[in-house]
Point group: C2
Chain length 200, copies 2
DNA sequence: TTTGCACTTGACAATTTTGTCAAACATAAA
DNA sequence: TTTATGTTTGACAAAATTGTCAAGTGCAAA
């Protein structure tokens, strides 16, 4: 529809290239030169569009935060039963992890670097999360999942899902697994997680 | 006993300072100057003792690998029953995490940076791991833990234990928890993990 | 006390990286 | 065609970072 201005195209190109470098290849400390080269543009453009290297990094980080929120929304909004919500979330995450395996670690290292950063979530999300926790507790009452504080349940779930993806190089080394073996293992994670979390 | 040479003292001082910077404070990209300042020595000493910045980084990484092996040994060696082995491991890890919360993430980012690195484990550890997996399968047969490939069980266990510690800033933000709340949650992890992993 | 040796330092040089700026370029409107 | 606006470039300057080196220091053995 709207004719993309050349500006927008280059702007997007740079930011996407940075994202790929960070999330896909794990080059968390790429220099402006490296980013420019990867994008096939002049290095100066990074300063032109983003003011400074740091500003670009922050922008990518902000996009990451938005994606985190989107994901969170997905699990607390929607009227599906708990199990289906979780399944949907797993599928979504694993698909995304195929494209951006280092996304979570990048977000983490940025947070560590910046000493801190507060998300300050929207009120309605907080509300929905509360509601979701209540649903969880109902499920625990029914006996389909172990009784425990909802936050602990969420930690279990998130950990079992993200850790094997985010820490892949670490784990692959520790357990001495080759790429093929590890891919196979990951493909089985969904079933394993569900089996571990739901009582039957 | 043996009178520490001044050399050894300084050498250790530098390497420990680096370790603290990396593992404790998460300064994964500390410059030689920062390390020297933190150690209260002249920057040149880093080149004197370690040849180059990179060599120092590698050395810290190697120590990390050794610690990983030590930990792994702990869980596969020893004649305790499975549950006690795992409990021991949890205690050990959580204690260590108090001092070095960013250890795992540092190891990971180094692995990502260096593109790759193979552990090549000792034969006897491989053997013991096999034995441990058999023990696990026996336990599954008995019905105390869910039936699944042993490696998946280990992934579940390791994930639920390490992820909440290693990704703390990430999770604390996502779930909007303050330090006190999060500490409390971590203190309950051991029981939660055991409850999740063992059928009763 | 003097000599030798290991340890430590400040100063320098080379390199890398970032940010700025003026000029060149393209393109659409007047 | 000219003008105006926004985009891109190469060259330069400043800062940060690493590595080297020659000289200085302290201490133990001769």
């Amino acid at each position: 529809m709207s004719t993309q201005k050349k500006e927008d195209v280059t702007y997007e190109l740079i930011i996407n290239t940075a994202k790929n470098l960070f999330f896909k290849e794990g080059k968390f400390n790429a220099t402006t030169q490296e980013i420019a080269d990867a994008a096939g543009v002049n290095r100066t453009l990074i300063n032109y569009y983003f003011r400074s290297r740091n500003a670009l990094f922050d922008l990518v980080f902000e996009e990451g935060k938005k994606e985190d929120e989107r994901r969170q929304k997905m699990i607390v909004m929607s009227d599906l039963p708990i199990r289906e919500k979780l399944e949907l979330f797993i599928d979504y995450f694993l698909a995304q992890a195929k494209t951006y395996p280092y996304r979570e670690v990048y977000m983490l290292t940025q947070m560590i670097k910046d000493e801190f950063c507060v998300y300050d979530k929207k009120e309605h999300i907080k509300y929905m999360t509360e509601k979701f926790y209540v649903e969880l507790e109902e499920e625990m009452e029914k006996g389909t999942i172990q009784k425990m504080p909802p936050i602990q349940f969420m930690l279990n779930f998130i950990s079992m899902l993200i850790f094997p993806v985010a820490m892949r190089p670490f784990l692959q080394n520790n357990f001495e697994l080759d790429d093929v073996e590890y891919d196979k293992i990951l493909s089985e994670r969904k079933e394993i997680i569900l089996k571990t979390i739901f009582k039957n």
